[in-house]
Amino acid sequence: MANGNKTTLLDRFSNLDRRVIFLLIALAVIIPLIVNYTTYIPPSLIVQTLFDKVEDMPPGAKILISFDYGPSTVPENQPMANALVRHALEKGHRVYLMALWPTGARQSQQLIEEIIDVEYPDKVEGEDWIHLGYKAGNQGLINTLMSDVKAMYTTDIAGTAIDEFPMMDGINTLRDFDLILALGSGFPGTKEWVQFAGDPGNIPVGGGTTAVMAPLLFPYYPKQMVGLMGGLQGAAEYEAALIERYPQLSERSRIASTSMGPQVTAHLVIIAFIIVGNITFIFERRRSRKY
């Protein structure tokens, strides 16, 4: 409310144009990217236990990674996928890539082209990693895979018969995997893997999800989930654990850590807005009591 005809500073803040907020957020994200501001995020317990699970399994363990996200959440989920696959291949595990989302297959293909083909050319397709691709069915697919993997995946994504791959020997059901890592951002996703595979089949399930979905999955930790990466911060924590164990990855495995710079500054800007908003609210309340 204006004091006479004059607009006070209080009025300006009360009726702050949201475009001012948007502009400041934009600057908070752009400037750290330009100056390359990075920050170290130590792994939290929930991320560390996931890391330890992958690290402690003997080489040759069979890890299924499900890409259940699309392009919209690539900034959060793709760094998780990159870190997990790097970790698995450094340990000598066998990596099985699949997707419950049609867009997930595209993301797993991107991972193969950017990470596996470039950084691990010695890893052999069909022996060290395999791309199974997308199949429709959501949780129904998970149910079917619980009893027969090869009934659904008769070929890999390129159309090669599944039995031609040595690493598919002995893979009959989901129980034949040592670990399922579900990277999700909605439905179907990590929760469905826990509900339809991990819990009924007693299969270790871990993974990562967007920061918004992470609180929904905390109740499943630690009994039904071995660990969880929550959002970009979770990915950065996993990268920190990975670099500590494998220093040779320090140059390559940094995407989430460098992306945390803008997130940190954006958080600080939002905190500043909340403080300003509350100060404005307090003064407004005082003014309305006065009048």
Binding site: R18, G70, S72, T73, S147, N172, T173, R175, D176, S185, G186, F187, D199, P200, N202, T210, V212, M213, P215, L216
Partner: protein
């Protein structure tokens, strides 16, 4: 009869002959320099509560496993389809294990099993069991506890549904978001602006979408009565068909079928952000006076709510997605939290049976709260007192509510 007896004796004898005379593990080229005590009590049986997918083995540890010579490192599991046939190694399990599940079997086929304790430099004689046949079971004992819980809930809900039909008045508290529905429709009518209804972004196989469409019917009756424009952009084709039927029927019941148009409920796209971009565009261009977001939502919830806020619409939201509730609470005028969304159709129609089901739902919640208190109390007591009986009671409560 005599032949059968001879065969039986022979089969029984083969299980007790020393391994030098009978079956050797195929890779028995290891020179047996160290004596290892064999495990005992091997039992092979059909895994209960499954679809003939596996056979289970149980055994007692070798005396040299964790005791005696303490040199056992593995147990080797062998299988054959006949007692006299060649046994092949199917797996190895670490020392300390006393169970194994064999999933590489065929339904209806008899299998014979053997187990050997392996130590560095030697292995025990084989202990056998069989035959075991995997059959399909008629009842899943693992889920007996789920059945009990389901029966309790179904009984509670059907009891209160029955009670509601006897004329007894059942009290349901006021739900602000649902009281606001009529207010929102009235406001839109006064302002001469349309109403936007978004039934979530999931399909009709999601109960939240069903609940949302039920509320749509109620709102459509109001808009038909007040001649207010209604727009329902949907993200799934089946939801479009069901939504159309619902709105058409509502307009018919309100006596205004002339006002109904199929294009009131129209399909946008299955793609999440394409859908929300289109709905945002509708909001900014059409400037509805009231926006309803009732169904299953994901990340787009805040985008919808903030855009609605920017155009000054009154917003009523409801979802059973716990992660999206904070966004709706922050940005909308009224929010139906979780189960309030499912209560909406009963609340708005004032149907007695539906109200009865709400009370039954509350009874189920009371039972859940009782068990939570019981479990927490027993768990705390077990830690404080160290009593074995209390610990057992606590473990029983925990196992009762476990799926495995």
């Amino acid at each position: 009869m005599r032949n059968r007896t001879v065969i039986t004796v022979l089969i029984a004898a083969t299980f007790f002959l020393p391994k030098a005379l009978w079956c050797q593990p195929p890779d028995s080229s290891v020179t047996e320099q160290v004596f290892v005590s064999p495990p005992s009590g091997l039992n092979a049986f059909d895994t209960p509560s499954d679809h003939a997918q596996s056979l289970s083995l149980e055994w007692e540890l070798s005396p040299d496993d964790g005791g005696g010579a303490d040199n056992v490192t593995w147990y080797r599991i062998l299988r054959s389809e006949s007692a006299e046939g060649e046994f092949t190694v199917i797996d190895e399990v670490p020392a300390g294990e006393t169970e194994y599940t064999d999933r590489g079997i065929t339904e209806g086929t008899s299998y014979y099993y053997g187990i050997v304790a392996v130590a560095p430099g030697g292995m025990s004689e084989m202990v056998g069991a069989g035959p075991a046949v995997a059959v399909q079971n008629w009842f899943s004992r693992d889920r007996a506890n789920l059945m009990v819980i389901a029966i309790i809930l179904v009984f509670a809900i059907t009891y209160y549904i029955y009670l509601s039909t006897t004329g007894r008045e059942l009290y349901i508290r006021k739900i602000a978001g649902l009281e606001a529905v009529n207010e929102a429709v009235g406001r839109a009518t006064e302002m001469g602006r349309p109403i936007l209804f978004v039934p979530g972004i999931q399909d009709m196989d999601n109960v939240q979408t069903v609940a949302g469409v039920a509320i749509l019917g109620h709102i459509a009756q109001r808009t038909a009565t007040y001649e207010t424009q209604l727009e329902v952009p949907v993200s799934r084709s089946i939801t479009m068909s069901v939504g159309r039927e619902t709105v058409k029927q509502a307009y018919l019941e309100a006596g205004r079928p002339d006002l109904y148009n199929d294009d009131m409920v129209h399909y946008i796209t299955d793609e999440q952000f394409g859908y929300v971009a289109a709905v945002d565009g509708i909001m900014v261009r059409e400037k509805p006076a009231a926006c309803f977001y009732l169904g299953a939502f994901f990340a787009e919830s805040l985008i919808l709510a903030e855009t609605g806020n920017s155009i000054g619409a009154i917003q009523v939201a409801g979802t059973a997605m716990p992660t999206q509730l904070p966004f709706f609470v922050a940005a909308c005028d009224y929010t139906l939290i979780g189960e309030e969304l499912f209560a909406a159709s009963a609340y708005l129609t004032e149907d007695k049976k539906m109200k009865g089901s709400l009370k039954g739902q509350d009874a189920g919640k009371a039972v859940a709260m009782l068990f939570v208190l019981l479990g927490v109390g027993l768990g705390t007591l077990a830690v404080i007192t160290g009593s074995g009986a209390v610990q057992s009671a606590y473990d029983f409560i925990l196992s009762f509510f476990s799926v495995n």
